[in-house]
């Protein structure tokens, strides 16, 4: 799975789940602001990543994910070995 594959899939999933146009998902855009995530709906982001990639994002790591680039990086670096 290439980084571009991750970006494409994550953007599609986030756009469908949070009903936001993926054109807004620029690398430096803030994930919480762009997706209108509050403390509750942030849980859905965690569940979506877990469901799709079998990656659990602990709260401590979540605090360090600000931009879409941060999110792609986190997924890429935590993908289970195939």
């Amino acid at each position: 799975m290439t980084r571009n594959d991750i970006i494409e899939k994550v953007n599609t999933l986030l756009s469908e789940e949070f009903e936001v146009d993926s054109a807004l998902f620029t690398p430096d855009a803030n994930v919480r602001d762009t997706l209108s995530l509050d403390s509750l709906s942030l849980v859905d982001l965690v569940a979506l990543i877990q469901h799709t990639y079998k990656i659990k994002i602990p709260v401590t790591d979540l605090r360090n994910i600000h931009t879409f680039t941060d999110l792609y990086d986190y997924i890429e670096s935590h993908l289970p070995n195939e």
Binding site: E19, S36, L40, S41, V43, D44, V46, A47, Q50, H51
Partner: protein, 406 residues
Amino acid sequence: MERRVVITGMGIWSCLGTTLNDVSNALYTGKSGIVFSRARKDAGFRSALCASVERPDLKPFVSRNLRQFMPEEAQYAYMATRAALEHARLDQDYIDHHEVGIIYGNDSVAESTMRSLDNFREYKDTSACGSGAIFQSMNSTVTMNLACLFRLKGINLTSSAACASGSQSVGLAYLLIRDGLQDCIVCGGAQEANLYGVAAFDGIQSFSTREDAPEKASRPFDADRDGLVPGGGAATLIVESYEHALKRGAPILAEIVSWGFSGNGDHISTPNVEGPVRSLELCLQHGGVTPQQIGYVNAHATSTRIGDAREAQAIARVFGDYRVPVTSTKSQTGHEMWMAGASELIYSILMMKNGFIAGNINFERPDENTACLYILPETREIGFDMFLSNSFGFGGTNSTLIVRNL
């Protein structure tokens, strides 16, 4: 001083339609909302019969993050409540500046509870349940969602009383308004229509198995009835004091004359005659109404052998020699359960306003227990100005409301 209590708005989302006009026409023409569900059969249901209820699309009205908190029945209830508020000419600005409450009937949220716990079990992680799971899985999900979405600041209460939930919600609202504790309350009942909500009900062999003729399956009081057919949706009534309605220039549809209730204190699923009799008698007594003043009885009758027989005996005992017209609209809708007490008030008010009594479809001949009633098998253009509506539930909870035309 006791205040008069009136109904000023109605909204419904049912297998008979999603507008009052469509539902009224469906009642008049004897339309059945019952279908055969391949999905239920394939899933292992003994009976694959159910009401066909359209799923609403809330995207134009409610944001994604707020929809996450809404299970199926809350979505039905939202649509019904939007329509009822509009019918009652209660806009958001008025609600924002006055104390409007909500009492709504709901007694399960099976599917969304199941799905969130399935995710928890699969991933062994509570976050996998999702952000909306806790709010979706509680019986009070309808009242908590609607109270937030419509910014209701009065009483906020769920009535969980099995198949009398919707009726009890209106009865409780009636008492609070009559006694001056509230001016205006959104009332109703909601019922999930998915297969998971009634799988266990199917398991105790309560449902009709007349799968070769779905529209003939729900046949309350008929000698050949063989069980109920599950339905669903939501029904909302706006209930307020007469003075409050007059003051804000609301359309006044009908008056709630009285509420009667009782418990059987008996078997968990088998009803008796004495409990319902007390509910009916108390309702008449509280309202100072004689049986002869009642022009129509909307029966609880669900198409089960014992339930219909016991209710027939109860009505006959209370009404004596007076042959009051009786029908069960469940012959058309199936059993709308937590929603039924509210939806059947709306069905009856639509009939009262339009000068007809919808026939108890599929009633072909009575048995020895139901022959005591004057059941109308076909729609008749009979005017009436006061009706009585019964709702009974598991555990022996009984609720009776009397409503009159205004």
